[in-house]
Chain length 322, copies 2
């Protein structure tokens, strides 16, 4: 299928599914998804091929809560975190898939411009010796008492840390993504004219041992995974959509300065100086730097509601070669 422009990888943050103040009802999910979906449809109208990825932090947290309750109240064996991640890919992939499809049909873009919308359950390969495995830092799921935490640690071999807000929470490592196991299928579908939703939540983390994949109890940063996806697909643009309008130097301070256009070299200098918050703006900027260093032309970090302005250079932080 011909496409006037190139391929764009769009990474949705949590606000594609939940707005501030939402209770997280089914209706909230659909309403937010339809708003986010508007962007995808506009990109198609402008001639882009689109691959979509998304976060899953709140949803994997909910599943962890459910599993903890199921174990405590009804002795239902909890699933592992790789399986919980797979569940969120079905959950959010389905919602995006249906919302995008409906909007494309409404605008007359299906089947003329897009052949379909599909979610691919995606495994992301990480290194078994990634240093992250020695120091789990990502809090996940509910708060426990010290005694409960110790019991679960023994029973399931989970790690716990005291949470700054009180109590104990499970912590898991966040290793660096290498590649999506399903990248060939993703590429072929995207080339054939499908909108592909994949790598949800950064992908299901797997390691390779003796030629075999094995799921691990970890979470992958979805923006770093989006870079791997965009690089492997030789996308023109990596568009990271979040709830902040720009990456800032000295964010939150009096002399905060928004970054509009920045070369990868400059961005890396800022990154190494600690301007971007770890687990938040940090990995977004790092993903942008890596994408450009790996041959990408343009990485954009922008507010979800400013995606099209950002593509025209009227909003957001653009990381460019140099």
């Amino acid at each position: 299928m011909m496409s006037a422009r190139g391929l764009i990888v769009v990474a949705f943050g949590g606000n594609a599914f939940q707005s501030k103040g939402d209770k997280g009802t089914v209706e909230d999910y659909w309403r937010n998804a339809y708003i986010a979906t508007e962007i995808i449809v506009k990109l198609v109208e402008e001639g882009y091929r689109v691959v979509v990825t998304h976060g899953n932090g709140p949803q994997v947290g909910i599943i962890a809560e459910w599993m903890a309750l199921g174990l405590k109240e009804k002795n239902i064996p909890p699933m592992s975190l790789d399986i919980a991640g797979a569940m969120t890919q079905g959950w959010l992939g389905y919602i995006l898939q249906q919302a995008i499809y409906n909007k494309l049909r409404e605008r007359g873009l299906f089947p003329s411009r897009v052949r379909g919308v599909v979610t691919i359950v995606t495994q992301t390969l990480v290194r078994g010796d990634d240093p992250a495995f020695r120091d789990p830092t990502k809090y996940i799921g509910p708060w426990y008492s010290k005694e409960e935490a110790e019991k679960l640690a023994r029973e399931f071999n989970w790690s716990f840390k005291p949470d700054p807000r009180g109590g104990y929470r499970r912590v898991v490592p966040s290793p660096d993504p290498i590649m999506q196991v399903e990248i060939n299928a993703i590429r072929e579908l995207a080339e054939e004219g499908y909108i592909v939703i994949c790598g949800g939540g950064g992908g299901i983390p797997v390691v390779e041992e003796n030629g075999k994949l094995r799921g691990v109890e970890a979470v992958i940063d979805k923006d770093l995974d989006a870079e791997r996806l965009a690089t492997a697909l030789r996308a023109d643009t990596l568009l990271i959509l979040t709830d902040i309008d720009y990456a800032y130097l000295n964010y939150g301070s009096e002399n905060a300065k928004k970054l509009t256009v920045v070369t990868a070299t400059e961005a890396l200098k800022h990154y190494e100086e600690g301007h971007f918050k770890p687990g938040s703006m940090g990995p977004k900027v790092l993903a942008g730097i890596r994408f450009v260093q790996n041959g990408g032309k343009l990485a954009i970090i922008a507010h979800l509601s400013k995606a099209l302005e950002a593509l025209r250079g009227e909003s957001g932080t653009r990381i460019v070669p140099g």
Copy 2:
């Protein structure tokens, strides 16, 4: 990619993930999936292209339990049943996808014979005026008291029925599947040499209203959905794997008679005479009949552990044209 034989659609029952006596731990899931996967690998070795589908009854039940607990204990808004179905597609699709991939690599069949293994999140279209919507019959999720059931019925517009085993349970309709919304992507990937896992749990039930898809609170029989898949893909064979070795006439009685080879016409006669249990062997036989009536050459109903014998005609019930 060339294939010496044709396409086979394999429908796994619940015993592909849980054996009798299993507690449903993560280890149970993987152990059972690896056993089931052995069949897929053998089919690839024998030259078949393979599309895999599977049930999700126990898993959607677990998610319904989790959601009920989350609502009661922590006021977490429950997701709808279409979303719960999507979660199970991620859950079980991931497990099958990884297990099949690992076995194919172990046997040297990847990437030489199979280009990859992918799970497609699948929506299945049903009619909004399907008579099933007027009479919900499928029990789902936990047991409630009359008072709890009435409260939930008001709050979420759910239907409840007294369960023969006591208490009240939610009931949902089981409409007839029409087609998989994602059938084109499934077909193309299968033709390109991928093993495609799709239509899990019969697919996420959706209706079309004013040119838009909308998820509905229902469950679809996975064998009837497998027929739709096999027919749309013009598969040579529909292989339905379950925990009974044959379809029987007068099942469970003294003069039970196993069916080895039966024409679609004969099978339909037996079906209409009420020989096959609704919700169990009934839809399997009906799926087989429909597949053959729609141009398929062979539908087989067999025990999971006898799949290859069944393909050779040494076990299982074969429904053939005529």
